[in-house]
């Protein structure tokens, strides 16, 4: 029996024949997930650089490296998914101006440039010091990395500081645009009632902030534990506060969207209802809402009520962060895959279960998610994550 005929046998209701296949697979779930983490991590750094939240200073440099590590892998799932990956550059070279997808490359590239430049400028004193200490090929490498300037005079550092500030200020709207835009790629598809809502870019943006901050908290606590360093309690508190704030907003919008759909009960509602209480019931209501949003909200309440117990924060915060990271992953799945499970016939839905070993399967998804962690490890070899690693960084700027 043909594969699609097998799917047809498990579909419920009437599904258009071409709707049996889920075209945007696990890879397209990862794409907004990774992009969101990139944008969110950058926001953490900007809170220090732009909004002067001093308690986040320990994370100001690390969060940029974290963002860069994920940025390098953001397009990998897209390339794996494309039917003709060899033609991917056409999106850059001959973009269709009316396409909501065509701009992504430009947003991604511009944002990447800002991120890389900011990292170079923040770490320039460190890189200069390493250049001076290194020999051979390493010396050339650090010469390039320090942009061939070993000037660490007060004026030069002041100029650096201004450039960093400028890049951060420009970077905030860029990060917002990047992920708001990814939300718009989905939100602009009028044919799909689950996606077509003006709330989609907002939900994507908020979930991006949430996943970025959660990722940073998790990585920070993990790295501190591994390297047996003390966790900065004030920094942790601030992170948790922001994570909580963004998460409450994010979760509210997610619920408001469904509630509004249900209350308005337009002609699309029966299909949406059938989806949310049908094939998406477990991943949406049980996974995304009940467990992965409910538990973090309870933990948040516990943390707010126990203000001065750092040990508790250090245990509960990473747990909360991990749950929220999963929540966002579930949300991406429920949006990207969920939207495609409903047939445009409005009369039926299909099931989708990715296999482990297929081209866009689970194994590759895991590999792609491990990849940024490896990149982060390599970045850590060049750029010290924490301020006390090197005293030669710019005072008062970062990391």
């Amino acid at each position: 029996m043909h594969v699609l005929a097998e799917i047809a046998a498990t579909a419920s209701g009437y599904v258009f024949p071409n709707d049996l296949q889920v075209h945007w697979t696990l890879m397209i779930v990862l794409y907004p997930y990774i992009t969101g983490i990139v944008a969110g991590a950058f926001i953490v750094s900007s809170m220090y650089h732009v909004f002067h939240i001093q308690t986040l200073k320990p994370l100001a440099g690390f969060s940029l490296l974290f963002a860069l590590a994920f940025l390098t892998c953001a397009t990998v799932p897209l390339l794996v998914h494309l039917g003709q990956p060899g033609r991917a550059m056409s999106m850059f070279l001959t973009p269709n101006p009316t396409s909501a997808m065509a701009g992504f490359g430009y947003f991604y590239a511009a944002y990447g440039l800002i991120l890389i430049l900011e990292i170079f400028f923040i770490y320039r004193p460190t890189l200069v010091a390493r250049h001076q200490a290194a020999k051979g090929l390493k010396r050339i490498f650090y010469l390039v990395m320090s942009m061939a300037s070993d000037n660490l005079s007060a004026e030069a550092l002041e100029l650096d500081r201004r450039i960093i500030r400028f890049l951060s200020v420009v970077g905030v709207p860029m990060a917002c645009a990047l992920h708001g835009y990814v939300g718009f790629i989905f939100g602009g598809v009028k044919a799909n009632p689950l996606w077509a809502t003006p709330l989609m870019p907002i939900i994507f943006l908020l979930s991006a902030c949430v996943s970025g901050i959660a990722g940073i908290i998790l990585a920070y606590v993990f790295l501190m534990k591994v390297s047996r360093r003390p966790i900065d309690p004030r920094c942790m508190r601030t992170c948790v506060k922001f994570l909580g704030g963004f998460f409450i907003l994010n979760f509210s919008f997610e619920m408001l969207e469904v509630f509004t759909h249900g209350y308005m009960a337009t002609s699309h509602w029966p299909a949406l209802h059938g989806l949310l209480w049908g094939p998406l019931y477990n991943s949406y209501w049980i996974g995304q809402v009940l467990v992965l949003s409910g538990l973090p909200l309870i933990l948040m309440g516990v943390l707010q009520l126990t203000k001065n117990r750092h040990a508790l924060v250090n245990v509960l915060a990473p747990v909360m962060a991990a749950l929220i990271l999963l929540q966002v992953l579930f949300m991406r799945w429920n949006v990207v895959i969920g939207g495609q499970l409903m047939s445009k016939s409005g009369r039926g839905s299909v099931f989708y279960q990715p296999a482990w070993l297929e081209k866009e399967g689970i194994l590759l998804a895991v590999v792609i998610m491990v990849f940024p962690i490896m990149v982060l490890y390599l970045l850590g070899k060049i750029f010290p994550f924490w301020q006390d690693d090197k005293q030669s960084t710019i005072r008062g700027v970062a990391p």
Binding site: H2, V3, L4, A5, Y14, F16, P17, N18, D19, L20, Q21, H23, W24, H81, L82, G83, Q84, P85, R87, A88, S90, M91, L93, T94, P95, N96, T98, S99, A100, M101, A102, I185, G188, V189, K190, A191, N192, Q340, S343, K344, S345, G346, R347
Partner: protein, 268 residues
């Protein structure tokens, strides 16, 4: 001596000019090689396109009418289509839906194998008496404001000057955005070519003055194709007479050029 210097400088100028020209030519030429060209105005991959002596389609405005009241669900159109394009199994450029509505207004729809084998068996899972039964052939709606053209990131899906929405398979990146955006689900990714595919209203045949393959094959004239600028054409008459005629999902705002005669409100 002066003459010599003058000549030399002239030669130098020539040389400079020559080098400049070679350089700009080389750079321009390599840019042409690197930059993908814009979409072909005519889908060059369609067999026979460009062979015709005169621009057949100038001044024509094509429309497709499906007469639901005439369709018997035999599947001949689907077979003709599959043969014309070697459509891979499990994917459909055109298909037929069977609608059964019972006296409780419950709607039962199916399309086993896209109607390719016809509808040889009835349904025995409907407890109530039926009040209405009919077949609905589906194909590309050739929208005036097509979502697929709007969303294609590389312009591989385009609207030809003669009003056909076509795909340049040499440019398609296979991102599936058009598949997501089409409200009518007429698109799919060809599993062999890895590019988007859909019904073209047999553009290559129409260019030669022929009818689309499904129109030719339909034994009951349920599929009607013609030029709206020709007042003698059947489509013109059908669309300008007081008929029960509509398009699919009008609220999408896509303004399809595919019209349905006798369309029921239950059809999506």
């Amino acid at each position: 001596m002066d003459e010599m210097t003058r000549l030399r400088s002239e030669i130098d100028l020539d040389r400079r000019g020559f080098i400049k020209k070679v350089l700009s030519g080389a750079i321009g030429g390599s840019l042409l090689l690197v930059l993908p060209q814009g979409s072909a105005l005519i889908a060059q991959q369609l067999a026979g396109v460009g062979d015709e002596k005169e621009p057949y389609l100038n001044g024509k405005k094509f429309a497709f009418v499906v007469d639901i009241t005439n369709c018997i669900g035999c599947g001949t159109c689907c077979v003709a289509d599959k043969n014309e394009y070697q459509v891979p199994d499990g994917h459909f450029r055109t298909w037929i839906e069977r609608y059964l509505i019972d006296d409780q207004d419950n709607v039962y729809v199916d399309s086993p194998n896209g109607g390719l084998d016809g509808f040889l068996t009835g349904r025995d899972d409907i407890p109530n008496p039926l009040r209405d039964t009919f077949f609905v052939p589906k194909l590309c709606n050739m929208c005036e404001k097509s979502s697929c053209v709007q969303v294609c990131p590389v312009g591989a899906t385009f609207r030809s000057p003669d009003g056909f929405v076509l795909i340049d398979e040499k440019r398609c990146v296979g991102c599936s955005y058009c598949v997501q955006a089409c409200p009518y689900s007429v698109r799919f990714i060809n599993p062999v070519k890895k590019t988007a595919e859909k019904c073209t209203w047999c553009y290559h045949r129409v260019r030669k003055g022929m009818q689309p393959a499904c129109v030719d094959a339909c034994p009951t004239q349920a599929r009607i194709f013609g030029d709206l600028n020709d007042k003698q054409s059947e489509v013109y008459k059908l669309l300008h007479e007081p008929q029960v005629i509509s398009v699919l999902k009008p609220d999408m705002g896509n303004e399809p050029s595919l019209h349905y005669l006798g369309l029921r409100r239950e059809v999506t």
